[in-house]
Subunit: 308 residues, 4 copies
């Protein structure tokens, strides 16, 4: 990385000014009312270096619905609980298909391709559910322990909307059950899953919560994870599978492990250097934030940051 940290504030301002012309190119997620009602013209960005220095721009402290970014934290928690046993039930390969496809599941005996497609994430949630007295509370506490913010909870309004319209996820969970890869009751697992997807965090929360992925597993707010170098492995999964069907292109353009959500958030890490979170609600056709992707591309461009 070519950059003095003292240049960061100016750089973030520059990025901010360069991405805002993209307002209107994408559009907010429309599948549930609470997401579609969000003011689309918002942008926030927070970067946290492994030494603890933090820099922000825009609405970096505004909480938003993290949606699929929660799959990252659920994965970390499940790995912390069951370790590599998780991989008996979920694969680690890119899916090459729309993130909610059922075809692959049928063809491959109910083993989802990876933990970031919905089917895989539901199996991850199932793992947490079956090892926890209060799975949602446990996940909330896990995330609070990573971000240091006990207000990182699920949003009841978003949860209700998710549950009300979650027919496709219900199809996936039932198919997993039919194929023998769901231990819990379908309704119970889905309830946890919808709550998990409804978690609310800000860019700053997310940059802190992913610190361990940039810092060899060490977190400022939490004792060490059980697994050795979980960060390295989770980063590999983010790079190959983290941005739905656009993971390959993002790796090519940006070159950082990252995970996105349809709430408009994206987290990314440069291992050894920093974790970063961006948020802007307008999405491209892949479900990834338009301004968020551009901001990360500019950040890596101006700082010559890339894992490659």
């Amino acid at each position: 990385m070519k950059l003095q940290k003292s240049e960061l504030p100016a750089l973030l301002e520059r990025i901010y000014s360069e991405v805002t012309p993209l307002y209107g190119v994408g559009k907010t997620a429309d599948y549930i009312p609470p997401l579609s009602r969000v003011n689309p013209r918002q942008f926030g960005m927070a970067i946290r270096f492994v030494d603890g220095d933090e820099f922000t721009v825009g609405q970096a402290s505004t909480p938003f619905s993290i949606q699929s970014i929660s799959k990252l934290f659920a994965l970390m928690l499940a790995l912390d609980i069951v370790g590599d046993d998780l991989w008996k039930r979920v694969g680690r390969e890119p899916s090459g298909m729309r993130f909610n496809s059922l075809l692959q599941l049928e063809n491959e005996n109910g083993i989802p391709r990876n933990p970031f497609i919905n089917a895989g994430a539901i199996v991850v949630t199932d793992t947490i559910v079956n090892h926890s007295a209060s799975p949602v509370k446990r996940l909330e506490q896990f995330m609070a322990s990573l971000s240091g913010n006990v207000f990182n909870r699920y949003d009841p309004e978003v949860y209700v909307a998710e549950a009300r319209t979650g027919y496709r996820n219900a199809a996936i969970a039932n198919l997993l059950k039919a194929l023998g890869n769901l231990e819990g009751e379908v309704d119970v697992v889905l309830d946890s899953y919808y709550k998990q997807c409804s978690m609310t965090m800000s860019c700053l929360d997310l940059a802190r919560a992913t610190e361990s992925l940039a810092n060899k597993g060490k977190s400022s707010f939490r004792t060490q994870f059980h697994g050795e170098r979980m960060d390295k492995r989770v980063n590999a999964l983010m790079l190959t599978c983290g941005l739905y069907d656009a993971a390959g292109n993002f790796a090519y353009q940006v070159g950082l492990p990252a995970k996105s959500g349809v709430g408009g958030g994206i987290v990314a890490v440069l291992p050894g250097y920093f974790s970063v979170a961006v948020w802007s609600p307008e999405l491209d056709s892949y479900g990834n934030s338009v301004l968020g992707q551009k901001a990360l591309e500019l950040l890596t461009h101006y700082t010559s940051s890339s894992i490659f």
Copy 2:
């Protein structure tokens, strides 16, 4: 058809003796306990000519679980209710895939290929549900009006077992809902669907209930259907889609429109001549009765019956 009706009793006895050596070649459906517990070595056959003459052999009056044969009656009822509007929501083409595949549904915007695959049958049931105060009672009455037997009802034990293990059907119904092709509530439609599949009839009931398909739409036990020549069209659907993935082969070997169920029953018709039902619980790998198929093949062979 080359046959004197007086030869029928001897012919049915001959067929009976020629198919029983096949006991043990197939095996009973094992996906729900009530079906797997049925005595597998049973065989019944009933043939009803359009003039009302009936001939039977074996356990032709033993009630059994008609399972997917119910899709035929549900289709007839739905066509009687909404007519050709049904085809806006279901196709009429063979599926070319295992009868419960979800892939096709995703690729073709939620329009099931035909009314005999599970997805299509669930849409048919949805149609009945949305036009009936008591859909299950209506279907029971419809079937009783066709067979003349008011004891043709759903079996509560089979229904409970179907509902308890119906994850794949739940996946299908939820996917249909997600894709906008299910009007009713998922749980309500599935409940009706499981009850419909749990209907109990005998070979003789079935031969009578399908009389209209052999007799230009006329039924001895019921007034005319609304639709003109529904029989012709339903027969076409049976021929192209009636035996799951083995429809083409059955058309080639037997040459009669037919519909099978995993309870071991098969109904078939020779338009203008007769309707026939066979039952024997042991199934081949496609889910079709081994002895049942053989019996129909022998019947058409010995009588030179074929629509072709």
Copy 3:
């Protein structure tokens, strides 16, 4: 069938007048120049009863490119040569996919679903090639022996155009070879296949050539086939697979076994009664003649003809 033969001339005139308003609804095949250059506003129809009576209307004697209808004759010839051994290499089930799909071939070990999709037809041609000194000549002679017209030959101009643009067929043939289901050399088999598809016949030729399918295997111009009741089985295949992806719908609407070609021809039979051929170059999106299908639908409607 409800009809006096004396009414046929008037009926055919009526049908003619009722279909011609459909000129312009479809469009001619555009994938090779010789087909796209055909005058689109042509219509012919010929019907031949099993007693030898023939009736025609329009351009019933104009030769046209029979294209995929040739698959029917190639199938009959291959069955005549190798009998049921053919079914070790080709299935008898509808494909449920666009007629030239490669997916099914990969998934099912190189066994094409049926002899009327391109992959299946290429295997059929391969069978003829491997049992014939001069396969194309043999097929020409076979067809002439069925139609009684020695001028039924392949059109060199169409052949050259087919060969020049046949990349998809080349893909299929190479995949069949890779999967172990092509005995001949790829180029040799394709050459025969392109010539076969380029055969030229008129409606009258076709009605005569399919007489055996309406008449229990008997042909006026040729001695008996080897196989017993090949007609019955070929008719079953036509009904379930004869009109590409529209076979189910055609069975539902028309109810006759039939085979179509992108040259605009369709042959159909009512077993025991007649064979019929129609031709009009404008096609619907499935590749079937718009006027041809309508003419057959009207014929069956006015005469109450249907196998169902």
Copy 4:
């Protein structure tokens, strides 16, 4: 990376002794005779640091058939010729399917998912063919300019064997042509493609030839590439798509951008540090070298090397 370079020789010996017990676990590629005849119990490894220091163990100087590793060099050459225009014809996403699947190609209008599956590699070769007077010679010279070894040429015996059995590649090329994504003649492009896959190099050649990918695009044997930072982008593609269907798992286990071939070779890079090549002919079920993968896993484990 935690390692003194002085420890390298001992480390490579240790790795060598730890992987050789795996002889016999995999088996050599059997699809063409020249590959199946290779002595399976061979292992070589060469590592080249960006400062030019080189270390080897085993048969690091033995030339072998690089097979799909050639796709990496062809990609670099094509990018050097046409730049980002290449991406109009090839995607950058993992395929999620067996490396030679045709399904994806049909569904996505002939745009291969990435340049490392066969379909994508054939499009890359097509690009080179259409911009070169002597495409094979150009590729040979390009590779020699990267490795500094003018003896890196194609092996005529392997080429002939590839061409003789390349039906699946012929299917792919014909389908690409049918779908409008092949400019050259099918036979011409395939000829170049088979020759490219038949190139022969040693581990040492490969470690040198991939130096630029570890060293920000700089090569010791060649002037700069045209494109800016091509290395970064090619590395991203290797990481997400380089090991067929096992790319995700390799990223997870090893964490280096890499490209494998069925000749048993694998190249990998740690950007900023080193390029490395391993070779051992016995393959796992994915077509990747068993000992090669293990050697790279041990190298990264003992040196804590990973991009993550």
